[in-house]
Symmetry: D2
Subunit: 292 residues, 4 copies
């Protein structure tokens, strides 16, 4: 089948390639003319036969919103837009309503796979009406990994991004789990081979996983990670997961701990611990460390 | 080679079988005569040629201590004892010293594998002097999974149980990660297929793991887990992991959150939340729920 | 001076009384005619001399919004509206802009004090332009406690509600602190007089506080709190505090722990712990408790 | 009455003074001859009339143990030893048994008060048999604050130190509560007067406390705490509180969060966050910060 694909960066570019390898026609658009198949979104719309399917793969927030706005003007009733970016699930319903007013369908797709996706396939979590989701069937089939897994129609509009968001929240806590264990093992003198302990866990244990495999790869490159700073960004989905939990009165202590650990890792000096130090000084005359 | 094996329960019995399948001779002892190859520990000691190797696979604490005590009297200089149970790593050094006073070597082995171990092999994390560990080589080879992983000489005496303990701590937090994600997905109306979302994650995602596979198996048996109570025991290693972290001033927020969630799950009514309710009542006249 | 006061419930009614005791004129409006001094908001507006000051003391969200909407139509340039309810601080800027378009000033006031406020005064945290805040001076003076404390101009529009929100977040964690300590003391056999321990702390200790005094009052009424369920609602500000922290990448582990403990207290059976139980069952054949 | 007092440092020296002011006789011993009233513990024992009362006020652990050992040899049946240091409560039972074998009574006393104790009195939490505790009555009366509070017989041997330990655990979480709130307020632009917000809270609010008063004092000295590093030691009792909670399966999320925040504050670079960074790099090609 034919599909328009907007956003041909690291993710979008590889996805175009994987869809084409499956025998489909992709008309790609990117602001960077060297990557783009067409000169504009209107040219992209013209190049596709109706009913059109257009996959948006641009940064969440303003870039996605302006793309949806433009597509609302260019597309026709019966066309379908897929948002495959990292949009917050609460945006999906707005986009679906905006497009539905023009008779255009909307599907949200959470996409996992990173740099391995081109070869291994992309895990897809999809939300939307069955009618619209079904139109994308061949594309989802092309993108997903071979085998029985890696694709789900998760529910109504927004459910795809919600499922992907929760996936990332779980990922935060899993990474934190390995990281806590690693630090504790590295700290204790009688333990001499932390990297080899991690390697041994790759088989026969309860905690074997792809993330564990990656940890071993990382330790093989730099056994004690001395080249790295203990500093981690967060990408939005972790925050949204905790916010969704708060909205729904669901306790998420481990995922939240992982998020807060990242926040703290980005502080050169912790403001809150200054107040702790100040209080200790006030009531106990405890020694505190001063900035010079 | 020849080995004595004390404790032929679910774990020990299968381990005897796996070692025998590899062509070694196992003299097993269990308090239950129906499981036991010999009538007593002294008979076990007599049946083995010197230098003997004896693997202890009994409950941690008093049972392991009394077995070590008895072996200290029965064995001879040059023999080696392996503690493959779930002993706290701080016990290992005591046992090693007690046995070293008699010229007997000591090795601690953390063993993972559960009911799958017989067929898939047991992941082994081993601590002790190289001299003693090397004597066990063929047995470790027999027990471990096929392939390059599943075995590590983690360090000095205690390092094997320490590594296994941290493994279990990581396991707590990983399980908590999936559990938090599952609850949040189940809570939100637009998400309709939580079980299928979990299934889809088994390929192409960052969070694929053996625990995820098990979660899908469990959801296949009981889609919304309506047959289970939200109640979880803890087995000691989680507690010890947090205590080891405190001793070493290592922050373990996610693992500790997982441990505390288990504690809370076993309370019918939370005492601490009674005080919260009482305080709210005092200062705000907030409505509180009363026990009848 | 003269002030209009909208919302004469438990808080608003007492505030009217305290302002009148200070010699000011209060024209109060409430939907309940038995409480109200006037029949309508337009009558309230008529009864006040320009430039008018109107204090809104109604539930946050829809009720506050509709009151602001109505006042925007009834008031005149130079008048000032104060929102003294529990509005989310992000609403304040919207209300300020909406009223500024009509030349009407806006001040937000976080109010603490509960049932003790009438006699002891209300702690006030105020946000807004100095020009508008200053007009309210005599009213703030009437409401605040005697003495040097209990009033602050916290910053720009929204800062008053933000400060009150953080106050409540801190309150959550302080209550949780005492509650955790109380549960631990009650659990240990050698400790025999938990209530008296709490009472003793009221003097000479680092943790003496008004909340501690309230805890002692509660324990005097019901020594082991056997009449209460361990169940606690949350009122919004705790959630907003954590959300504000997430927006600002500030780690709030203790306040968040307190919030999550309340969430968990309201669950009869924890969904997430069902998945923990299911996983333990899958990999270990651990006994789990079943619902009948 | 007459009392021996061992350890005349900052705490012990002031306590000697406060007991003397109440009209009692104190024979003080310190390793530092300039502080000491006697040249040795045996001289101290000789100077006291039987039955003797000796208060030990030396560092917990080895110093306390060796003092108890020496007193066990010097004192006589019917004498009483009080451990007023910061001993772990699990040591108390050992000391009580050791001394009981010689017919010597034992009382443990948790003491709070710091540098204010001389003037304001020391809050005392006491454990031990009523018979031994009662002998100390006049001394407890001299040390405690005036007024109805500040003293409790908390329970059996160990209960005094246990209650003091929990007091410190609560203190950790309360300090953390204020610290989190302070950081959040300092972070947000619309809030302009964080110090004045804290000051305003000292009256009429739910969170007024002595710790809040101290926080205001600290902010008056250094408004944004720019002279301090965000670095906090921990003194043992916080760790022991969490360990006691783990032993008793009591969830302590807020107190533990406060403890872990202190651990993290003392790390220049977080090892666990290095692994997070490494994993992000492996699966996503995320930019990471490298050490030079």
């Amino acid at each position: 089948m034919q599909i328009g694909l907007i956003g041909l960066g690291k993710m979008g570019g590889n996805m175009r390639e994987r869809i084409r390898r499956a025998g489909h026609t992709v008309v790609g658009y990117d602001r960077n003319p060297e990557l783009s198949d067409v000169g504009s979104l209107s040219e992209l719309a013209e190049r596709l036969d109706a009913p059109r399917v257009v996959w948006v793969m641009v940064p969440a927030g303003a870039a996605t919103q302006s793309t949806v706005d433009e597509l609302a003007g260019l597309l026709s009733p019966g066309d379908t837009v897929v948002d495959g970016g990292n949009s917050r699930w609460t945006d999906d319903e707005k986009h679906a309503e905006q497009l539905a007013a023009k008779g255009i369908g909307f599907v949200d797709a959470g996409v996992s796979g990173g740099v391995w996706g081109l070869e291994n396939g992309y895990a897809l979590m999809v939300g939307g009406d069955k009618e619209h989701v079904d139109r994308l069937g061949p594309i989802f089939e092309a993108l997903k990994p071979d085998g029985p897994y890696g694709y789900v129609h998760a529910g109504k509009v927004g459910a795809g991004h919600f499922a992907k968001m929760v996936h990332n929240g779980i990922e935060y806590a899993m990474m934190q789990a390995y990281a806590e264990g690693w630090e504790l093992l590295e700290k204790v003198d009688s333990v001499e081979n932390v990297r080899e302990i991690f390697r041994s866990w790759q088989q026969g244990t309860v905690i074997r996983s792809w993330l564990l495999d990656l940890a071993v790869d990382a330790l093989d490159e730099d056994q004690h990670l001395g080249k790295l700073r203990g500093y981690a960004e967060d990408s939005g989905e972790g925050r949204w997961t905790v916010e969704a939990a708060i909205d729904n009165a669901v306790p998420l202590p481990a995922i939240t701990a992982a998020l807060f650990a990242r926040f703290a890792s980005r502080q050169d000096d912790s403001p809150q611990m200054k107040l702790i130090a100040a209080l200790r000084n006030q009531f106990g005359g405890h020694a505190v460390e001063s900035n010079k």
